[in-house]
């Protein structure tokens, strides 16, 4: 019998027990690490009690992760997923932000297009998979299209709402100083909406990362979603399945951290509560 779960729990307990003497920075690193340790211990104990032959233990998952890293397979699949997400997302930004700005600003355009946008929005991007494959075949095209769809709606709707929220005082200031046309958009409409637009980008990227995995499991032959399916089909390698899930989670965190950097610019910081 291996006693590592006991030692790890004791260490985690020590960290939690001394929390009050840690600085705010230390707390926000150490405490989540301690909780994660507890969770891993629970996972290990659950495997031992149930004596599961199929579900991997933390150790097996770790070994699976190393195996994935050593085989060049993992990097290729990560690159494939990120490639699709990047392009789909960039296209959605390029179309969604200008469209949202115009539709949000012009009341007539809003009346004309908003019901259509709201009607298409509740259709899950997953439901589009058959059509995506029909139009683009199995491959990057379909993936990019699906990611475009999944990011396009949050971005467009978020931008529209942001523009419609611009305060009357700021609109009147702009009118008072004679701003119009492109200048009005550049100096008032876009900057006023930017904090909320960035929030919608965050949401969109999160959704995109969820959708790409599902799409790759169903209709693609590379990427992290495909890797999960492949690991299960090729000999029930659940250690690889769980290892890939962890990789997906990690990359999701990194993507969110990257996009949150946008919130720090002087031009948008006013839009976020300081806490």
């Amino acid at each position: 019998m291996n006693y590592w779960p006991l030692y790890v729990s004791l260490m985690a307990l020590a960290v939690v027990g001394t929390a009050r003497w840690q600085s705010a920075r230390q707390q926000s690193v150490l405490l989540p690490m301690a909780i994660s340790c507890f969770l891993v211990v629970l996972w290990e104990l659950a495997c031992r009690w149930t004596q599961s032959r199929i579900f991997p233990t933390p150790g097996q998952t770790w070994a699976g992760l190393l195996e994935l890293i050593e085989s060049n397979r993992l990097w290729g699949d990560i690159a494939a997923s990120l490639f699709r997400v990047t392009w789909g997302f960039v296209l959605a930004v390029a179309v969604g932000i200008p469209l949202g700005l115009v539709v949000g600003w012009s009341t007539r355009t809003f009346r004309a297009l908003n019901p259509i946008i709201q009607g298409l929005r509740p259709i899950s991007p997953i439901a589009w998979i058959p059509i995506a494959i029909l139009w683009f075949g199995i491959g990057d095209g379909a993936g990019i299209f699906l990611i475009f769809l999944s990011s396009f709606f949050p971005i467009t709707v978020g931008t529209m709402a942001a523009v419609r929220n611009i305060s009357l005082v700021h609109q009147r200031s702009a009118m008072n100083f004679g701003l119009s046309g492109l200048e009005l958009f550049r100096r008032v409409v876009l900057p006023a909406a930017l904090p909320q637009i960035i929030t919608s980008l965050r949401i969109a990227l999160g959704v995109a990362w969820l959708v790409i995995v599902a799409a790759e499991m169903v209709g693609m032959d590379s990427g992290l979603g495909y890797l999960i399916n492949d690991a299960r089909n090729a000999g029930s390698r659940y250690d690889l399945v769980v290892a890939t899930m962890l990789v997906i989670g990690m990359i999701g965190i990194v993507l969110d951290l990257l996009i949150r950097r946008l919130e720090r610019f002087d031009e948008v910081r006013w839009g976020y509560a300081t806490r």
């Binding site: 005082v169 009147r172 100083f177 701003l179 200048e183 008032v188 006013w270």
Partner: protein, 252 residues
């Protein structure tokens, strides 16, 4: 009167629709403001002061009647007459410098530079040019807004309770600075307030409004030179007169 009339209200009436019913906010406002005059519009909250100022600023249309500036009907906002808003109208996404330069877009960079630094100096914000509004106190934000208005060298400045959100000490010092700027620039100023003391400290004439629908109850002149002595008997008399007109008691 020989002085030139700058802003003239002619029988201005305003109705708002609310839940299908007409709400009469202003009734038959007749008022003339002379070139270079400082006039306060004083009245209880909700009597239509902001509405009247918005009509003069071109942001709202009167239901009937009209406002003339230099003899021309006001049809929309215009940068020759600038509004200073009750809530902060400056842009939080732009630095102090960019906010103040907002109305100077057509000028050359050199001209902008010259005017912006001049008005920033005038309102006492030197050294804060690259600061963002978020990092400024309420009083400083309001100075930025005044600087933004002065930068375009308008004929008329409309101020809608510009110091309402500030603490009383800041308010007092901004008032004396406003008076200094007014003396230096000779602008026509229409200043909305519900604060009796504020109106006596600032205005040459105080236009007292009734409750809604807002009508002009009386126009009270303030024949005192600046700087005004807040403890003088004259000040006290005007204050009592205003309290009478507003129908509030003198004692608490």
């Amino acid at each position: 009167m020989t002085t030139q009339q700058k802003v003239v209200f002619e029988k201005v009436t305003k109705l708002f629709q609310r839940k299908g019913e007409d709400l009469e906010v202003l009734r038959d406002i007749d008022l003339s403001v002379a070139q270079g005059e400082f006039v306060c519009l004083l009245g209880p909250s909700g009597c239509g002061k902001s509405t009247l100022l918005n009509i003069a600023g071109g942001f709202e249309r009167p239901t009937s009647g009209r406002v003339l500036i230099d003899g021309e009907s006001v049809l929309g906002p215009d940068s020759r007459r600038v509004f200073v808003f009750q809530e902060y109208g400056i842009f939080p996404w732009a630095s102090v410098w960019d906010n103040v330069a907002l109305g100077l877009r057509q000028l050359s960079k050199d001209e902008q530079q010259r005017i912006v630094s001049q008005v920033i100096e005038l309102v006492g914000l030197k050294g804060f040019e690259s600061t963002y509004p978020q990092e400024l106190s309420g009083g400083m934000k309001q100075r930025v807004e005044v600087a933004r208005a002065l930068a375009v060298d308008p004929d008329v400045i409309f101020m809608d309770e510009p110091f309402g959100a500030l603490d009383s000490l800041t308010r007092l010092s901004l008032r004396s600075e406003l008076i200094r700027i007014w003396h230096e620039s000779g602008k026509t100023i229409l200043f909305v307030t519900h604060d009796v003391d504020e109106s006596i400290q600032l205005a040459q004439r105080i236009v007292v409004f009734t409750d809604r629908p807002g009508c002009i109850r009386e126009i009270v002149p303030v024949p005192m030179e600046h700087p005004r002595d807040l403890g003088s008997p004259e000040y006290g008399q005007i204050k009592n007169r205003l309290y009478d007109l507003l129908g509030v008691s003198h004692q608490v």
